[in-house]
Symmetry: C2
Subunit: 405 residues, 2 copies
């Protein structure tokens, strides 16, 4: 089908227009692309062909210059792109600048500055607490309802969807006795975490917190994120300074960054708060910063869970306000993950830890039982959100295959 | 004194030659500099003036190209620099390319990729355990002797020595009761951590661990590092995912990176190991990777502690092997901190947490008592190591002043 003729209701129609970076077999030069249906528009070439002033932002090998440009420019560029793909007069010029999605190679679309991972799903945190501290009266730690718990992860191992993930090796305990020495070998509890990643565009100054209301001035858009986790490595290492090698081997993100402007119709209020919040986190007077994203997790093509992002207790705006309240600066390309998304139902859980209750209750897949991931397993996360007039806004899939170390 | 006439025994003589990045009042262009005594040689200009092939690495605004070049080139460049500053024939050409240290502005010398902080001093870990878990029979967590505990910090807030540090605000508990809500405000327990930072030059591939013996192929050099810590913010936030806002507001490093080649005479074996180590961490057959660095911490010019780096249980080589054993890749500019350096004696402790036993036992300074840092306090860390023929190798100071938020 020709690029301009996107079927009605296509989740990647002109109402969406996510950004990525691609190359072709004919040219290994990386270029900013905008997805329309099952095609990619070479956005820089289009800007040059149409004499657009945005060529300086779009004719680049990474999204970083566009990310750095700030909210007003983001909206202006999006309006321009919308016109390019919808106004018939541009068709003749732009048609040769579209590439079939199946014919391009997609790359990590931006240079990741710092990567932070949060822990914002109350259902996930309660499940994790019940699994790891079965004797505790309260599965949530005392701070959970007062602040969005987060920690820094490894920016250098964030990879684009489609990248193979090498099973990590590391130390693990084979029984919990404190005197027993750990063993070394490939992780035997390799897990997924279904998350949404938020991409920071406009930077902020060190020493100056970013208030809740400035979230949209700094965050450009979002992506799906798989926070691969080696539970056995993590369990042994994480006290007292948090997860390290259990997470740092790989984090996968979609090849497409969906701009916040495409998700206006998906904004929802977060769940009612059970505890009063300190003023810098109190969003009762703010516009809703939750998102009604319907996520799906498949292993080897078989759907195992459908986590609802609207259930997240802490919003991306609260996470940004918290992240910077101590004066930490933001840089273009900062990425922060929502934390594992788990709904209230068993079939809405965002990790195998929860779906199999730490391996006690295996999943039945068409190709056999699963507690944790096996070599060769392909995990694919997808999502959509309600868009204008009821049409869906598709997020780019994030997919990865486990290979032996 | 003219640049070439460095007094005998100067810790920044031609046996040292640390690298930095500077600009001058006459030119805001950042340039790689090499320190000789109380002067800075414009290394790129020198390379160009002498027709050196290293001009492509040195005539740059950051050390990253040199860092990326790898061990063989690092040693070659160092030999060339040593010749430039010692062979009399070069004096006439190079003399105008020296700038008095007092007349230049020093910048963060490299772009920090990922920042990891370790916890490698047994004395520090025992002190922290005793302070935070006074009722526990064993102050070390069960994993401490089996792996070098570490976590990721915020790369974007690493600042060069001399940068003011804004006192962070955040959540803290005013009493430990679990039902009591936190309060918000400026940290009242703002602390230091005296550390050594290791700067990665040569990258490594994702999925490929770096063995112990390859440490010197990847690590270019070291710096002093002050891991500023807000103890009250940290105490409330850090369970279960580790330190976050209690650390992420600022981390200071020296303006000078001391190449490993300058520290050959300072290499020492680490303390005897009390527990057998897994093969990837077992360094009994390796060259010693500890360093005999004599550190000093001063508050407002008054020395409060002299931590000995040779007491660190885990070496930088073990930390690198651990950091990558799960397949995590290295990037040029990765920085990892040793963890707080504390000796066995009270006057060798590397944090105010330990020096004042969490505020119970204030330090007596000439300008009054200190539990934690006050606004206006200037903290300066310095260090030296034994060099060739007994002359000292100086490390660049790391200094910072606390300013109100």
């Amino acid at each position: 089908m020709p690029p301009f003729e996107v079927p009605e209701g296509d989740p990647f129609g002109p109402h969406n227009l996510p950004y990525g970076v691609f190359s072709t077999s004919g040219s290994t030069q990386r270029r900013v692309g905008v997805r329309l249906g099952d095609h990619v528009l070479d956005a820089g070439a289009a800007a040059l062909a149409l004499g657009s002033p945005y060529a300086t932002l779009l004719a680049r090998p990474t999204l970083n210059p566009l990310l750095a440009a700030g909210r007003t420019t983001w909206s202006d560029v999006r309006r321009a792109l919308t016109a390019w793909v919808t106004v018939p007069a541009h068709r003749e010029v732009l048609e040769p600048l579209f590439h079939p999605l199946a014919a391009v190679t997609l790359h990590l679309p931006f240079e990741v500055a710092d990567y932070v991972d949060f822990y914002a799903s109350e259902n996930h945190a309660r499940n994790a607490g019940r699994i790891f501290r079965p004797d505790a009266a309260e599965p949530l730690t005392p701070n959970w309802k007062h602040l969005p718990i987060g920690y820094h992860g490894r920016a250098g191992t964030v990879v684009v969807s489609g990248t193979d993930v090498v099973r990590p090796s590391g130390q693990r305990k084979t029984s919990p006795g404190p005197a027993e020495a750990p063993v070394f070998g490939p992780s035997v509890r390799l897990d997924i975490e279904a998350e949404v990643g938020f991409v920071v565009g406009a930077p902020s100054e060190q020493g100056r917190p970013v208030p809740l209301g400035d979230y949209r001035e700094h965050v450009f858009g979002l992506t799906l994120l798989n926070d691969w986790s080696a539970r056995d490595i993590q369990a042994w290492e994480y006290v007292p300074l948090g997860p390290f090698l259990g997470k740092s081997f790989a984090t996968s993100v979609s090849a497409w960054i969906t701009p916040l402007d495409a998700l206006e119709d998906a904004r929802v209020a977060p769940p009612a708060r059970t505890h009063p919040l300190l003023p810098y986190l109190d969003d009762t007077a703010e516009e809703p910063a939750g998102y009604d994203l319907r996520m799906s997790i498949a292993i080897n093509g078989h759907v195992v869970s459908e986590p609802p992002f609207s259930t997240m207790y802490w919003t991306a705006a609260q996470q940004l306000a918290h992240l910077t309240v101590n004066g930490a600066s933001l840089r273009t390309g900062d990425l922060y993950g929502s934390g594992t998304v788990s709904g209230t139902e068993p079939a809405q859980r965002g990790s195998l830890l929860e779906l199999t209750w730490n391996g006690q209750d295996p999943l039945e897949l068409p190709d056999g039982k699963r507690t944790y991931l096996e070599d060769g397993d392909v995990v694919t996360m997808s999502a959509w959100a309600p868009g204008p007039g009821g049409v869906r806004v598709g997020l780019g899939d994030v997919s990865g295959r486990i290979v032996a170390g």
